[in-house]
Amino acid sequence: MSETRETLPAQKAWMSVAQKVGIPLASVVLAIIVGSVIMWTSGYDPVAAFAALFKGSFGGPKQIGDTLLRSTPLILTGLALAYGFRANLFNIGAEGQLFMGGLAVAWLGVAVTGLPWIIMVPMLLLASMLAGAAWAFVPAILKARVGAHEVITTMMFSYIARYIVSWLVVGPLKAPGQIPQTVALPTGAQLPRIQTLFGESTLDALPFLNLGRTHLGIVVALVAALFVWFILKYTTLGYENRAVGFNPWASETGGISVQWTTVKALCISGAFAGLAGAVEVMGVHYRIFDQFSSGFGFTGIAVALLAKNHPLGVIPAAILFGGLTAGAGTMQLEAGVPQKIILIIQALVIFFVAAEEIFKWFIKRRQKEALSHAG
């Protein structure tokens, strides 16, 4: 219809706030409500369950540490997906790039010796990003040149990456012993736990620093989120990325190369997925093996969705998902609710975020009603 006109500024501001924060929040609340109903009908006490869940994820510094530990790779894969989505690219194969990133550091961290920590660690992080980007490069070129859909190609590349790792850890890169895994990284190539950075006295004085297994990767992830936010908001790279994502034809008319922007976007997305693999290897397992990622690449899709593809929104979204997994054990232990219920709640969050149109419809209807009463 041709009859579009400016809506009132106040209304628009309200709409925009509601959409940016309100809808994801409402999705979480609704997921909790529906999750409670499911628990209650299954004969569990939802109040006790959520109390235990909260205790297990945010009840103390150790629990918070556990949540952050699980959030770290999710922030990075969430960023990877969000950056891709901003260019209208669905990097569903982030898991594969994550494997390649992890593989790069697991191999280089052992193969390269004699470098000080301060050089070794940044080098490894950079290598993981390059590996992730490289793994996204072929799907990116295929997309740009012949229009092959990235959902198919990155997914296929994800399988290839996983099988390469499966083969390497039983073959050429296998550490001595029975277990199919690589040799452990030396300390000089690890991301240390946060609490090991402080002395006993500091930890006693500041108990909230007792963050358990949380490692420096969380700092890497937070810096990465800020970095992506800066790219999208303040650089021509981000501007072109968003322009192409919204309207490739207008971008082309404005002298932006859509193909080149697509390649860059998918590779940058891959780089952050690769970085997620690096923090898992360097901060948690110190080696790579078949199951080193519990589907972080895929959960990243949900994180980006909940964050509405905002790089800073990725942080709370990842912490929510991290917290849900971190607290699941406590919930089972203390309230007797099976851990699997967490998967249901996660699914519900996604469902409600995806059902945003329903919220929008309600909002529009309410506004209309309000206006017609006023008029």
Partner: protein
């Protein structure tokens, strides 16, 4: 008793009263023109009548009986038919199949095609709407497709026909044909509501004119009682300069030189077949032609969006034959695209972001890849001011502006860049008179500044009022060149449709239309 009566129809959108107690009567055998600028509420009103939108107040009476119309189905049952601006036809199906769609004759789910075909032919003969019942929609010209839409409404038993901006996509000849059809419909006792914002159409086709502005009916008149200027004043609410004043052309240095240019379209067919012309500074050269005769491809080649297959393009002596869109912009070519939603704007971007698209890499907007928000905001504010974009601020998303204001944003960006050559493709398509006046002034201002302007337009009136020289393009060739004072609309129309012993290879009977038309 009126066949259709609207009493105080009110329709409210968030923040906007689209129809404010609008009343309208339509008598049997009458053509009422509903005239108004874009956003005046004409289409909304008719969408309410056709059951596509629910009203927030008011009553609809059909043949004196109060009715509630909740769906197009109900509207059709009440004898109301509507032909939309964008056709609702199934392209791979035939004319007959499209017309009977939803009301197929036959039984037990088996369609009786023979009866259907016969019925379609009957209606088409009765109203003088000639069309091949077995032709596929995708093989028909836009004018013929519209005819199918009208036939469909008649088949469904419409006694009131609503035509929403029916001439927007037609050639001058097709418009004449449409008017003839509309006349024969009312002679047969139908009533027609004709939605438009074009003054000359209103004057020539309607019995009665209802003018809307800002959601209200602001006046009613007859063609015999008013003229263009009076209507424009009613429509816009102030005096409008309809004809643009311009001094004689001061042709300066040659800016664009096109030599033997050949360009292929998306399907690999030759769309531009050896075109040569020049545009000099201080001159407006118009490319007149029926849509789909290679104008789009020619424009895309000039602005770097399409690689020519042979020939050359020179901009002030610089070879831009194979320049990319970026290189072309940097060489001084600006482009007002024919489709502002697709090519001109990123609707999800705010106005500032849209106002720098194409210049976003260059100082003062960016250096070394980092953007400078304060410089961007400053320029955005100035351009919004200079080009009279009606908006509370540059933070507003482009999608929230009206069509006219959106086009002003595109014009502000492309002219604000201070180009050597401005390529304006249908710069006023779908705009209301007020915005058209503004865009025309800006284009002529470029001409006064000694810049070269290449105008591509389907509106002959626009071509004749802005151009110094007119090139007629037909089937990818320039078939005739005129200076503006030696030609009139009739002659242009004649050459545009292949008249004058064209260089037709006898290959195409009808003029093919590209997708961009609808």
């Amino acid at each position: 008793m009126p066949v259709l009566e609207l009493r105080e129809i009110t329709k409210i959108f968030p923040g906007v009263v689209a129809n404010d107690r609008v009343s309208l009567e339509l008598e049997r055998g009458e053509i009422v023109a509903l005239l108004g600028e874009n956003g005046a509420g004409k289409s909304t009103l008719m969408n309410v009548v056709y059951g596509l939108m629910s009203s927030d107040g008011g009553q609809i009476l059909v043949n004196g009986e109060m009715v509630k119309i909740k769906s197009p189905r109900q509207a059709i049952d009440l004898g109301i038919g509507m032909v939309h601006q964008h056709f609702m036809l199934v392209e791979p199906l035939t004319v007959t199949e499209n017309i009977i769609l939803g009301r197929e004759p036959g039984r037990l789910g088996v369609i009786d095609f023979a009866t259907a075909r016969q019925k379609v032919q009957e209606i088409s003969a009765r109203y003088g709407l000639k069309v091949d019942p077995d032709a596929k929609i995708m093989d028909l010209s836009v004018g013929m497709q519209q005819r199918v839409e009208i036939l469909k409404a008649l088949y469904q038993g419409a006694s009131v026909l609503i035509l929403d901006e029916p001439t927007a996509v037609l050639t001058p000849q097709e418009v004449k044909e449409l008017f003839r059809v509309v006349r024969s419909l009312v002679d047969e006792g139908l009533s027609v509501v004709f939605i438009t914002h074009k003054l000359e159409e209103v004057m020539s086709v309607s019995d009665r004119i209802v003018v809307m502005r800002d959601g209200k009916v602001v006046g009613e008149t007859k063609p015999s009682e008013t003229d263009d200027v009076g209507l424009a004043r009613m429509m816009v609410g102030r005096d409008v300069v309809l004809s643009v004043e311009k001094g004689p052309s001061t042709c300066g240095a040659q800016v664009l030189e096109v030599t033997d240019l050949e360009v292929r379209d998306d399907r690999g067919l030759e769309a531009v077949r050896g075109v040569s012309f020049t545009v000099c500074g201080g001159e407006v050269v118009a490319l007149a032609g029926v849509s789909g005769n290679g104008q789009s491809e020619l424009v895309e080649a000039i602005v770097g969006l399409r690689r020519p297959s042979s020939g050359s393009l020179q901009l002030k002596g610089l070879d831009i034959t194979h320049a990319s869109a970026r290189a072309s912009i940097e060489a001084g070519v600006s482009h007002i695209p024919e489709d502002r939603h697709r090519r001109g704007l990123v609707l999800e971007f705010d106005l500032a972001e849209n106002l720098i698209l194409g210049d976003h890499r260059l100082p003062p907007f960016a250096s070394h890849g980092i953007m400078h928000p304060s410089a961007i905001a400053g320029v955005a504010e100035r351009r919004i001011e200079d080009y009279d974009v009606r908006t509370p601020s540059w933070h507003v998303l482009a999608s929230n502006l009206s069509g006219g204001n959106q086009q002003k944003v595109v014009v502000a960006r492309e002219i604000g860049r201070n180009p050597e050559l401005l390529v304006a493709a249908q710069p006023t398509r779908g705009l209301d008179v007020g915005s058209i006046e503004f865009v025309h002034k800006q284009i002529l201002a470029e001409r006064e500044n000694g810049k070269a302007v290449l105008l591509v337009s389907l509106e002959l009136e626009e071509v004749l009022s802005l151009a110094d020289r007119i090139l007629v393009i037909f089937e990818g060739r320039i078939v005739q060149e005129f200076t503006v004072d030696e030609v009139d609309e009739e002659t242009l129309g004649y050459y545009m449709t292949g008249g004058g012993g064209s260089k037709l290879d006898g290959e195409a009977e009808h003029v093919e239309m590209t997708e961009g038309d609808s």
